[in-house]
């Protein structure tokens, strides 16, 4: 087998960068191999992707040292348009890589550029549309497809060019669970076919362990671990350093190993998939587990008055689309509730009613005793803070200070108090005061998200609604944001969070609500939600891996974390 991609002692510093984005990186990938690169934000993962089709150094300029060979071509000597034919790239954001007004043309665009004869082009486009299950969408504007379909369309357009090397840069990080599922299925097929050399940048370790031949971990531009996934995942300290969570079954394995009584009952090879976990952990129980009880009290919800009271809410958009259909929900003061569901299931439409951005078409929404139909958003913004998904949609000021002051100023808060609120909210999001003079748009994504939250916190609302705060963030950042919300919740703020991440729901929310096609599918404490995997599956959701493991082994239905599983296991084993 030959090496299709070779990096030799590569160091790259962006034109405006103060330190190398990638330093002294060497790696080689064989033909037909699937290599996964994981690591926190700023580790240099995207930089590696950009190098392989020549975007670096031809489009993104900077100082490049070392040698990059793709199929034997040294990238610095060939234009991007040539290299793009060798190595096709799929980026994380589906919509910003779709260029053409129809799906059909999107797929043919690359072929047109390379002068593929028309007859052949038509055939290739048809094949791609069929293979990627886009039949019926030929004439649609790709931007009007769902996130997963958009990403499939983008991938189809790359594959149609028949590159030998495929570079997939966090292809599912901005997708909902259905979309991720669709895209992973295709990636799995591509990987199994061995027809492509695949370099996949991805932090969703549980999803990729099975298809990765090798796992590479990058941090601060350096390669800190490399090898078959099973080997790499055993290096606990390195994983922690990179902020990467191994699969929960692997975590559980190490947790058990640490324990003097139980550790001896396990083999030395950690499981990395649910099936392996089921086999290994299951072998500890002899005879089989009998207890099927739940470990959580049926309710973790707070007792108290409903601060948000949604009654039979319908929302019908002017084009006749009913986005919310008869939803009723009470949120108690001081609660931490998660709203889950696919994109387009009506979650965002629902929460936009909480501060009056949208008014009910039917039914009512009462917030802190006020019917939202009778008042304005600018009034409700004193009570409900709504943090939007993408910080770039709201950052406009010349400095962070002005950005945070914006909300309180709109509310007419006196000057003295504004100062105090700025300081307070900055402290809450753990940003240093020195950042106040910085221009918001020049900050990193993680910092922007924090400024975004701070600017809403400064309005001192008793309810905080956060829409997908974790999309496009690395695992570490996701946790930090959820910790931050937990902190606020402890201090009395009612928190409503929309998320796709089931692990986060399990770990941080007290209660959850699942939406599907505008309706409420399921509602209850997180334990209750996850103990009904069949209903969750209707919304294309599944419980966290550890919950599924317990359910498969016949343990409690509502285990929510590795710790809970371990505690239950200890208890269970002590009876034997």
């Amino acid at each position: 087998m030959s090496d299709e991609v070779i990096l030799e002692n590569v160091t790259f510093t962006y034109e405006d960068g103060s330190r190398p984005a990638v330093s002294d990186l060497s790696l080689s990938v064989q033909k037909g191999e699937t290599v996964v690169i994981a690591g926190p934000a700023g580790a240099g993962k995207s930089t590696v992707c950009r190098m392989l089709n020549g975007l670096i150094p031809h489009f993104f300029r900077g100082v490049l040292k070392g040698k990059i060979l793709v199929k034997g071509y040294e990238t610095r000597n060939y234009p991007i348009s040539f290299l793009a034919h060798q190595a096709g790239v799929l980026f994380d954001d589906p919509s910003s890589q779709l260029i053409c007004p129809t799906v059909e043309e999107e797929i043919s665009f690359g072929l047109e550029n390379y002068g593929v004869p028309r007859e052949e082009m038509i055939e290739r486009v048809h094949n791609s549309i069929r293979d990627f299950r886009l039949t019926g969408y030929e004439q649609r504007n790709p931007h009007t497809l769902s996130g997963g379909e958009q990403q499939l369309c983008a991938l189809a357009s790359v594959i149609a060019m028949r590159p030998d090397v495929l570079i997939l840069d966090e292809p599912t990080s901005r997708l909902d669970p259905i979309g991720s599922h669709q895209v992973y299925n295709i990636i799995k097929d591509l990987s199994m076919s061995r027809a492509y050399t695949i370099i996949l940048v991805d932090n969703k370790i549980e999803e990729i362990v099975e298809l990765a031949d090798r796992l590479l971990v990058l941090k601060d531009g350096r390669l800190i671990a490399e090898g078959p996934p099973r080997q790499v995942l055993q290096k606990e300290s390195i994983m922690k350093e990179a902020g990467i969570r191994p699969p929960q079954v692997t975590e559980l394995f190490f947790r058990i190993k640490e324990s003097p009584q139980l550790g001896a009952k396990l083999g030395s090879e950690p499981p990395i998939t649910l099936a392996e976990g089921e086999r290994q952990i299951g072998s500890m129980f002899n005879p089989k587990v009998k207890s099927r009880e739940r470990i959580h009290q049926s309710d973790r919800r707070c007792e108290g008055d409903a601060i948000i009271d949604v009654k039979d809410l319908w929302h019908i958009y002017p084009n006749g689309f009913a986005a919310v259909k008869g939803v009723s929900l009470q949120v108690a003061k001081g609660e931490f509730i998660g709203i889950i569901g696919q994109n387009g299931s009506g979650k965002t439409t629902l929460v936009k009613h909480f501060n009056g951005l949208l008014k009910p078409s039917r039914g009512s929404v009462i917030v802190d005793g006020i019917d939202t139909r009778t008042t304005t958003t600018s009034f409700l913004s004193r009570k409900v803070g709504l943090v939007f998904q993408n910080p770039d949609h709201q950052l406009f000021a010349r400095s962070v200070l002005k950005e945070i002051e914006f909300g309180p100023r709109n509310l007419g808060v006196p000057e003295e108090e504004i100062k105090e609120r700025v300081r307070e909210s900055l402290e809450a999001v753990k940003l240093p005061e020195s950042i106040l003079d910085a221009q918001p748009t020049s900050l990193s994504t993680a910092q922007k998200q924090r400024v975004n939250i701070a600017s809403v916190l400064a309005m001192r609302t008793s309810i905080l609604v956060v829409d997908e705060p974790t999309t496009g963030q690395d695992p570490q950042m996701r946790r930090e944001i959820m910790e931050l919300l937990t902190e606020l919740n402890k201090n009395g703020t009612t928190v409503v969070v929309i998320t796709h991440d089931m692990h986060l729901v399990a770990e941080y929310c007290q209660r959850g609500m699942v939406m599907k096609n505008g309706e409420m599918l399921l509602e209850g404490s997180t334990g209750e939600l996850f103990s009904k995997p069949e209903i969750l599956a209707e919304a294309y959701l599944k419980p966290p891996q550890i919950t599924m493991l317990s359910q498969k082994l016949g343990g409690p239905q509502d285990i929510l974390s590795v710790d809970e599983f371990f505690d239950w296991l200890k208890e269970e084993m002590s009876h034997r």
């Binding site: 034919h85 007004p101 047109e112 931007h143 709201q394 809403v456």
Partner: protein, 281 residues
């Protein structure tokens, strides 16, 4: 939606984009050779007939009127201001600004202004027929055919593809700022301008990021590789309908040029003025 395109299967929809462009050209020609409101009304009538054949709801035209109303009013006033008033010849009606006797309105200026306004409306109404009945990709293919450079063409095409995306972004930005207590219903123009800045800046920064990513996507699809050898997925052809329409356009153009150019007084607004005068007297 990505464009104003209203799907349909009418003869107008099936016309080659070039034919539709030529139709617009004929309307432009009529406006060049004539300033008579009656001629303009006739052309407008013809255009509306085209709309009806294409089964475009009349609400589309009314929508357009609503949008251009302020501009139209301004246009009327400007026309009236700059129309040279000759007291010895013109039939005086009243002053637009009374007491100070400013801006005289006469039969002549009124007829001329009506003609001018009709021209203004006609320009837009006739042009809009093209996007309403032609799918965007067809327009782009046509541009490609007449050798508009691929760079320009791709810029236009991606801009069109992004219309719905940018529309959504703009709405989200507005909602994000309103959620932070922003009010947009200020009367005070300075406050209003400030409010708009809070929408405009994020939109600009989001658009900039998008265009950057789009450029990366274009490069990654091999755009610019051997431009001369580029092939095209879709091809456009002329049909019988096109031939019929083009023949009709040729005849109309001939008539317009003949009467408008060689017999200028026939398509002149003064004829209409005289006609109305003879009725009034």
């Amino acid at each position: 939606m990505s464009s104003d395109y209203i799907p349909g299967n009418t003869i107008i929809h099936k016309l080659h984009p070039a034919t539709k462009l030529i139709f617009w050209g004929v309307v432009m020609l009529a406006m060049m050779v004539s300033d008579d409101p009656i001629v303009m009304l006739a052309v407008l009538f013809g255009t509306i007939v085209m709309y009806m054949i294409a089964k475009i709801p009349m609400s589309k035209i009314l929508e357009l009127f609503k949008v251009i109303l302020p501009a139209t009013v301004l246009y009327v006033v400007i026309d009236l201001i700059f129309f040279t008033y000759d007291p010895s010849k013109h039939m005086f009606f009243f002053y637009l600004v009374p007491f100070v006797n400013w801006i005289p309105v006469t039969l002549e200026s009124l007829v001329f202004t009506v003609g001018a306004v009709l021209k203004f409306i006609l320009t837009l109404v006739s042009y809009r027929l093209i996007p309403l009945t032609t799918p965007v990709p067809d327009i782009i293919r046509f541009f490609a055919k007449i050798r508009v450079p691929p760079y320009v063409n791709t810029a236009i095409s991606s801009a069109l593809a992004y219309v719905p995306v940018m529309y959504d972004e703009a709405r989200t930005i507005e909602e994000a700022q309103r959620s932070r207590g922003l009010r947009l219903e200020y009367r005070n123009p300075i406050k209003k301008a400030r409010a708009i800045v809070t929408l405009f800046v994020p939109l600009l920064s989001v658009s900039f990021q998008r265009s950057m990513r789009l450029a990366v996507a274009l490069e990654s699809k091999g755009f610019g590789y051997a431009m001369k050898k580029r092939t095209y997925y879709h091809e456009l052809h002329f049909h019988m309908g096109d031939v019929a329409f083009l023949a009709a356009f040729a005849i109309i153009s001939g008539l317009l040029i003949y009467f408008g150019y060689w017999y200028l007084n026939i398509l002149n607004y003064e004829n209409t003025v005289r006609l109305i005068e003879s009725f009034i007297r």
